[in-house]
Amino acid sequence: MTINETQDELISDFELFDDWESKYEYIIDLGKQFPPLQEQFKTEENIIKGCQSKVWLNAYMDGDLLKFEADSDAIIVRGLVSMLVKVLSGHTPEEIASADLYFMEKIGLHQHLAQTRSNGLLSMLKQMKAYGFAYQGRTVNSEN
């Protein structure tokens, strides 16, 4: 699935919810189901500090695809992080670097991207794109 196909899929998932509660319950569920990042990757280097919650982001090349794993100490941010990973992970660095992310706005969650100081999500997104730029033209066969 392309980046935009995944975004469109998320948008249509969220169209099922007509109130904030079911929308946030779904995000909380996504947060709960998202596999936790292994402790060895929760390093200072991988931390993206928000003012209130922490986000960790680990990136690695798998063949010619750039993959992400992430985590957060707050469950709603974790759910949002899982969506960003779902959309961007497993694409080529070029695709990730040039991706136009519109799903958060369409779902009505853009305020979470605006509050950089409170949750680090926007910083995480920038970091994911930065990895995209940095890894362009590289192929690595083993993980990490």
Binding site: Y24, I28, Q52, S53, D73, A74
Partner: protein
């Protein structure tokens, strides 16, 4: 709930309280960050811009005269608000932080030297930590910290033990923004003066709840922000004892703060203008007077009594939330309720309350060392002002039940 105030009428004075947030009527419980502004303050700001906007102190035309008079009226009003002996001791600043930096950078740089000690407390806001750290780093001074107990009260014995002839400055918060604790500042000041140290009080939180009398306190400096007392943002005042302000070098250079400028040498203006370089925040200074008048019309003791009743109500009400723990249980505190809930991140609480139209503050409240003291990364904080009601507190409780249900 008995009180002498007509809360319905008061609420009508604050247009913002009618706002709909996420489909619900706003419940604003972030008053310790900034209070909302009554219509009379908003009208004062637009009235200035509509009718007598002019730069002050130098113009000889009528608008400038009117603006200057209103501006200086505000200074006298603030002098009265703090019971300061002279209007010359009221310096307009951008806010509490600016006032603290002014003292650290002028008094501190001139009078403190290597080996001198500065005392702050474990519950300081970053704005009363960092300016002193910067000073200590530059001058080779030593920063000492008064510890607190588990209820969030200063350990006064430990404070006394820290005081020595090396202590040159004590800078403490009058009321804690994270905990609500009212500190025994009069005693702190008296003891500091016994060893010859000067004292600054960070009055950001205290000034909206307590009556402040700088002569009775005998503090050397008092810094506060008007936006926490129903006034505009972007302005505050620093009170300083005249002899100290006179002995301090100017802070920023520019217009207004000079007497005469040549390329060889500049002489400085008198107090308070020596510390007020550049065009000040005229509109907001003028509007500040109206905020203080508003507070006086309601009566500070009435406001305090009502806010205390809200705090009591909320403190009882949150007991029904399982796993909720109040952070800050000082015997003397203002209407600030900081709490954590077992197993739930404070940010999740903030996001889900916001969805229900309830504004609280979550995070470390710019007091990271204090959070570490309690071994937490942050709290959720509901802080009450005179326009809040028990019905709104009920909505907070319902909101928290919903948060627990959704995250449970």
């Amino acid at each position: 709930m008995s009180n002498n105030l007509d809360i319905t009428a008061i609420r009508n004075d604050f247009p913002i309280l009618d706002e709909i947030v996420n489909g619900k009527q706003l419940v604003y419980f972030d008053n310790a960050a900034t209070t909302q502004k009554p219509k009379i303050v908003l009208d004062a700001i637009s009235g200035y811009y509509e009718h007598y906007n002019a730069n002050i102190h130098r113009g000889i035309h009528q608008l400038a005269e009117k603006a200057t008079a209103a501006f200086e009226d505000s200074r006298k009003r603030l002098q009265q608000f703090l019971n300061a002996p002279s209007f010359e001791e009221i310096i307009f600043t951008y806010g509490t932080t600016d006032g603290i930096n002014l003292v650290a950078q002028t008094y501190g740089r001139k009078f403190l030297k290597e080996g001198d000690e500065v005392i702050i407390s474990a519950m300081e806001h970053h704005s009363n930590i960092v300016p002193w750290q910067m000073l200590c780093e530059e001058k080779g001074c030593i920063l000492k910290v008064i510890p607190i107990n588990d209820d969030g009260e200063l350990l006064m014995d430990e404070y006394e033990a820290l005081l020595t002839e090396r202590t040159k400055f004590v800078s403490v918060v009058h009321v804690s923004n994270s905990l609500g604790t009212i500190n025994p500042v009069k005693e702190i000041i008296r003891k500091a003066h016994e060893v010859g140290a000067k004292v600054l009080l960070d009055g950001a939180q205290a000034s909206s709840h307590l009556s402040i009398d700088v002569q009775d306190l005998d503090c050397d400096f008092y810094s506060l922000s008007l936006h926490k007392i129903y006034g505009p943002t972007g302005m505050g005042i620093l009170f300083g004892k005249k002899e100290l302000l006179n002995a301090m070098p100017p802070y920023r250079g520019g217009g207004e703060m000079i007497k005469e400028v040549t390329f060889e040498k500049t002489t400085y203006n008198e107090l308070p203008y020596k510390f007020e370089a550049g065009t000040p925040n005229i509109a907001d200074v003028i509007a500040a007077k109206y905020a203080l008048d508003y507070v006086d019309t309601l009566g500070k003791p009435n406001i305090a009594a009502y806010e205390n009743s809200l705090l009591e109500y909320a403190t009882q009400a949150v007991k029904e939330i399982e796993g909720l723990k109040i952070i800050g249980k000082a015997k003397e505190k203002v209407s600030v309720l900081s709490f954590v809930i077992d197993g739930i991140h404070h940010q999740d609480i903030g996001v889900l309350l916001d969805q229900q139209g309830i504004a609280v503050r979550t995070g470390h409240h710019c007091t990271q060392p204090l959070m570490r003291r309690f071994n937490i990364t942050g709290t959720s904080r509901a802080s009450f002002a005179v326009y809040n009601t028990t019905a709104e507190i009920d909505r907070l409780i319902q909101g928290l039940h919903k948060v627990k249900k959704m995250l449970g």
